[in-house]
Each structure stands twice: as C-alpha cells, then as structure tokens.
Symmetry: C2
Subunit: 132 residues, 2 copies
DNA sequence: TTGATTGCAAAGTGTTTGCAACTAG
DNA sequence: CTAGTTGCAAACACTTTGCAATCAA
C-alpha cells in the first residue's frame, strides 16, 4: 500500500483540482505539458483509470469513444449547464431531480439508483451568434 | 432522394424493430448473420449512423468506446432506467424533469436547452445477485 | 442507365499494455 | 534495497472510409 508521491501524480491531481469541467485524458495531458510538466499520455491514462475506479473521479462517455473525467466535488448533487457555443459552464444546484429519480426507482422496484443529467443550451451572450 | 430497398437495409430495420433494447453495431451485425442475412459490418455501421443522424434511432455511449442503438419509440419524451446487472431497460414517461429543465434554462438566460438523462439501478430480479 | 449501396481492407481514434529503466521511501 | 511508477512503442477495440463492383429503380 505504499504510494509514491511522484511529480506526475501530483501534477495531475493539481490539474484536476483546477476546474470543475470534464476533461479528456488527452486534454489533461496537453495541459500538463503546457504547464511544463513531463508526463506521458500512458501515465495520465493509468492514473485517471485508477482514480475513477477508486471513486475519486466522475466519468462521462462521449460519442467517438472519448472519456472525460473530473474530480468529485461537493457532496451535494448539482448539474452543469453548458453553452454549446462558448463552452461556459454553470453549476446548477437543485435537488428536485434527485427526488424525482428516487421516486422513479421506487415505482419500478429498482434499487441503488444512479443517474447522470446533462444540460446544454445557448448562453445569453451566444444567442445571436451562428452556431459554427 | 431515391432510396433503394436493399435486403441489408430491410434486415437491419427488422432487427431494430425486434427489441427495445440498446444494441451495438457489432451485436446487430452478429444477429443478422445468425439469421442468415449477408451484411458487412461496414454497412451496419453506415446505416446505423444514417438512422441516428436522421433521428430515427437513439444512441448511448458506453465506456470502451462502444455505441449502442435502438429504435425511437414513443414520440413523447421519456427516459430509460437500465439495470446494471441484466441490462433490462424500462421506459420512464414523465415530464416533470422536462419542466424543471426549462425553468433552469430560463433562470440562467439560456435558450435552446437540450438535455440527456440516464438512469441506472438494480432491477427487482437482480437485487440479491452479486455484481460479478 | 445511373446514382445509391455494398464489401473489403486499410486507416483512424481513443485507450490499454508489456517491458525495461527508474525512483520514492 | 524494492515495490510501485514511468515512458515508449506495440497492441487493442470500435468505428470510419476509399474504392471498385454491384444493385435497385
């Protein structure tokens, strides 16, 4: 159970700390290189998988086979509203969906319910801009 | 806008008709071969993409880069409750989430809101079975 | 006839892994 | 010293695509 505090691991942890956004292994890797850290893509993948497996990261599967990761944050549930044009992300704190989900599970006799909700739209600043 | 009714296309359409389950391109391809149809994997992929793009199929991205498809059924909005153990899929018809989403969008001055909600749990039959 | 469709095999993506060198503790 | 970690390059799984042959209308 020893666990070396290698510079790579530390750098990745910091990168994950920085934003609440979901980012891909490749994005994170590029980010680390830009910051001057020496890490290989393989190492990034390895840590990401380990962290996700340990429950420290949330994951999201995109079309194209890409997986994005982000650190588990607030204990309270919240969702993200992402602007499809500029990418701006807003946290949405609200528990009504949570309650609804619980009810649905009960009604269908399902237990250990998990759910993922993704919201996207056009933010105030992007509503007149053409999407392309 | 001609559109040949090829045996491959017909067979695939029938296969999609058969179950409400999400299935991968490879699963569908294997299924078709078993039924005695001659189709290439490439063709299955091509049709699946076309149908999904046209809005005739719903898709789901799994970890591992796999995409699963199934035919769109009810016109009204609904969600899916999937059993993590046996894969059984239940449709959940309910509009309260829809309304909530709309409210959230308004509150943040976002327009053209889209959302995706995925629900998973353990169905009644799988609640005592070990997950492995 | 003619444009859409098909199959094949090659190419492409994102991710994983074997292995030898390396390093934190 | 030694188990865990790293980088590289090869391997993987799923999907996409170029192209020539084929087929439906």
């Amino acid at each position: 159970m020893t666990m070396p505090r290698t510079p790579q691991r530390i750098a990745l942890a910091q990168a994950l700390e920085q934003t609440p956004q979901f980012r891909s292994a490749q994005q994170l890797h590029a980010h680390l290189l830009q910051e001057g850290h020496e890490v290989s893509l393989a190492t990034v993948y390895r840590h990401l998988n380990a962290l996700a497996e340990a429950g420290a990261l949330e994951t999201r599967n995109l079309s194209g086979g890409e997986t994005r990761y982000r650190q588990c944050r607030s204990s309270g549930t919240h969702h993200h509203l992402v602007c499809r044009d500029c990418g701006e992300t807003t946290d949405v704190a609200d528990t009504s969906v949570e309650q609804w989900v619980q009810r649905v599970g009960d009604r269908h006799h399902f237990t250990d319910i998990r759910y993922a909700l993704e919201l996207s739209g056009l933010c105030a600043g992007c509503q007149h801009a053409p999407t392309g």
